[in-house]
Symmetry: none
Subunit: 87 residues, 4 copies
């Protein structure tokens, strides 16, 4: 309570610094990823689709199927055609 700048304060500072350091590292990586997408774009790839590919690879097949199934259901309920495949 009456230890301004004392133990609790030091600990707090330490945690804050560790987290902020890690967040910086994380930001560097995020920027790297952005760079790769930019490079891919420069080479003629469609970034939006590329992102979708990455995202599809991440998902488990089962997951994909389930989402597709619900989408199908909704589309049919609305009298629309089967969902191309925009998962």
């Amino acid at each position: 309570m009456s230890d301004p700048g004392g133990v609790a304060g030091d600990q707090l500072r330490a945690f804050v610094e560790r987290i902020e350091r890690l967040e910086e590292e994380k930001k560097v990586i995020s920027d790297d990823i952005k760079d790769v997408y930019a490079e891919a774009k420069g080479t003629g790839f469609d970034v939006k689709i590329l992102r979708k590919v990455i995202s599809l690879r991440k998902k488990q097949p089962h997951e994909r199927e389930e989402e597709d199934a619900i989408l199908d259901l909704y589309m049919h309920a609305l009298g629309m055609n089967g969902p191309a495949n925009d998962a």
Copy 2:
């Protein structure tokens, strides 16, 4: 230059007020939309899929097909199966 609170100031204020008023209205509508999604969710619908349905309806068929085609292309280039129906 030396008309503080003068003509330019009045005009500026007027424009700012008109815009801010419209942005408020816009926000009300956005909130209404959120409410509808929430209500749909409460009724048992899957909000994520519902959003996707809305978005698909917005797109022209041609647009959809084109995106699908590119996706297919990429997936094949990577040796992955056709999108979605990994049967």
Copy 3:
């Protein structure tokens, strides 16, 4: 759900229509805002600056609140009590 096939089509359609209607209204307002900016530009104002002014006015109240909040937060975090609003 008392529908043959899986999804309550009527309900779904109703939700979709409500959302699409609201999105249209929203678009109208967005266009109105654009018009006002265009008019301001025609009157000689710098649109970029005008946008910035609007955006800054939107943020200011929050900033004040947050500055107040951070003191409180630090003190709580250190086990001390805030100035007066020790909720």
Copy 4:
């Protein structure tokens, strides 16, 4: 493009791999951050407050800059000149 079929598969694969590799690294860091929060919690800190502190510290510099900026902006908008940095 000198590939039979449409897309430069090797390039695409290379981009995908680079991105996926970076995303893995990013995930490791995210997990590290989580660990630090968990540790802080174990030491008796309130994680929610800690998060808020981090987030506020991130925003503060921007706020200061923006507060300075708004004066300038208003003056420019009114055709007056800023204090000293009339770039």
